[in-house]
Amino acid sequence: MTPALPSTEERLALRRAQNYRRLVIGLRTGLAVVAIAAWEITVRIGWLDPFFFSQPSAIYQQLVTWLTEGTGQGPLWSELLVTMEETALGFLIGSVLGIVFGIALGRNKLAADVFSIYIKVANAIPRVVLGSIFIIMFGLGMGSKVALAVVMVFFVVFGNAFQGVREADRNMIANAYILGASARQVTTSVVLPSALSWILASLHVSFGFALVGAVVGEFLGARHGIGLLISTAQGTFNAAGVFAAMIVLAIVALGAEYLLTAVENKLLKWKPPQFVEMGM
């Protein structure tokens, strides 16, 4: 075999793929610029009322103020840190509980049949309502927000872990038993890895849920956090403040998403790569 000198066809395909990527990035940037400019312009010429809709320049200004002078409650980063801590704790506790219960019930038919009805009932309750109870129970501090984030996360992760265990290949489990595995070895080395792609998929969604839990908890009553920042801005009819806090949260959520994708790619490296079909 001649070593890698790409043929003309390969070079062309490579260039086509590169051009396509550039086109996508260009269009994405263009779309964002057009949307933001349209917002700013329609507000400036008076088509939209800045009282309700704010405007990009005001939001930017608000962010700069928060960053340089701090918010009414303290520096922006410490407010963000509070919300992040609540989110991260809720996410971790909720996912671990969800995974443990999902696998335990997935592996035990009797337990699954007994508990499934209660889990359905609990899942049907709009969980945000529990926030009020948690505030009564745990007070205005971090505990109530973490608790709300935990219940938001738990059911998503639990459902996926349970389903993932149920979908584990029967033949593969039988194979492990015949190769000499004990029930526990089957759980750890067959059921868990095969449920992992389900669990990881749920973690993407549930980080967002943890953030919702933390922020809503702060809405309902808190001394610190981005949620409080939003509810204060709302109380003073400061639309720019609400949008600015939203942007801060979105950046955090995107960062977490990026991290989770990196973890997922590392843990699922045994999966076949997705082949990209080049449309002709």
């Binding site: 039988a174 194979n175 190769l179």
Partner: protein, 257 residues
């Protein structure tokens, strides 16, 4: 006479659906497999071929009759048994080497010793150089080789095979049959090999058992006197063709409606 390796006496097996409907998969089924004998089972679809294997492993106990392995009634999964599945049952998240090593590791062997042993078996099934590949990076035939190594590394005295090569193309299947005979001839496990393919049964087995349509029982038994070691070319000899014709005649009566 020594104790048969596998002994099924008047075995029956019922399946009960959640709605309470009872299906009879096997009735009055008896089969003895001697130590070191290669026995193939052919039969129409749904006649309970795979069910017999499940009963020997202890995964699905019989509804009536008795199943004995080396003279002892089957109560659970016997460590002397190896099983090769029809579908891919190798673990997709483990490399070839770790897949082959999993049996010994499950059985408590030290992981590094198990990997050394596995490396040897990976070589023996012709996969040297692929130790660190994942199953999805291999062809169907290579994955079957992994499955064979994974089973043979436990040195089973009883080898059960459930249409292991049915998903492979004809050429690969012929290669795998030779591979299997090569591996088997080293230690001569007692084999029960379930298949749809009459030629495959004759190529591999000492004895071919034909089942009736479901609920299955034994229709006829053929001894295969072809000399060993057998190669794929054996199937062009007149004896082979005559056996194949007879077995097909038996089977045809069962599959025709």
């Amino acid at each position: 006479m020594s104790i048969p390796a596998i002994e099924l006496n008047n075995v029956g097996r019922k399946f009960v659906s959640p709605q309470g409907k009872v299906t009879l998969a096997l009735r009055d089924f008896s089969l003895n497999v001697k130590e070191g004998e290669f026995c193939a089972i052919v039969g129409p679809t749904g006649c309970g071929k795979s069910t017999t294997l499940g009963m020997i492993t202890g995964l699905n106990p019989p509804s009536s009759g008795s199943v004995k392995v080396f003279g002892k009634p089957v109560t659970g999964i016997d460590p002397k048994i190896g099983f090769v599945f029809q579908a891919d049952a190798v673990f997709p998240w483990k490399s070839v080497l770790d897949n082959v090593a999993s049996g010994p590791i499950f059985r408590g062997l030290d992981p590094s010793a198990a990997r050394d042993k596995a490396a040897d078996w990976v070589r023996r099934v012709g996969l040297a150089g692929f130790e660190h590949h994942y199953p999805h990076q291999l062809s169907g035939g290579m994955r079957k080789r992994v499955a064979l190594a994974q089973t043979f590394i436990n040195e089973p005295a009883i080898l059960l095979m459930d249409e292991p090569f049915s998903a492979l193309d004809v050429q690969t299947r012929a290669m795998m049959q030779e591979e299997l005979l090569g591996l088997w001839s080293e230690r001569k496990a007692s084999v029960v090999f379930v298949t749809h393919d009459i030629d495959e049964a004759i190529t591999l087995a000492d004895r071919v058992v034909v089942l009736t349509r479901g609920p299955g029982s034994v229709k006829s038994v053929y001894d295969i006197p072809l000399p060993r070691p057998r190669a794929t070319e054996a199937r062009y000899t007149p004896e082979f063709i005559e056996l194949s014709r007879q077995i097909w005649a038996d089977l045809k009566a069962e599959v025709s409606i």
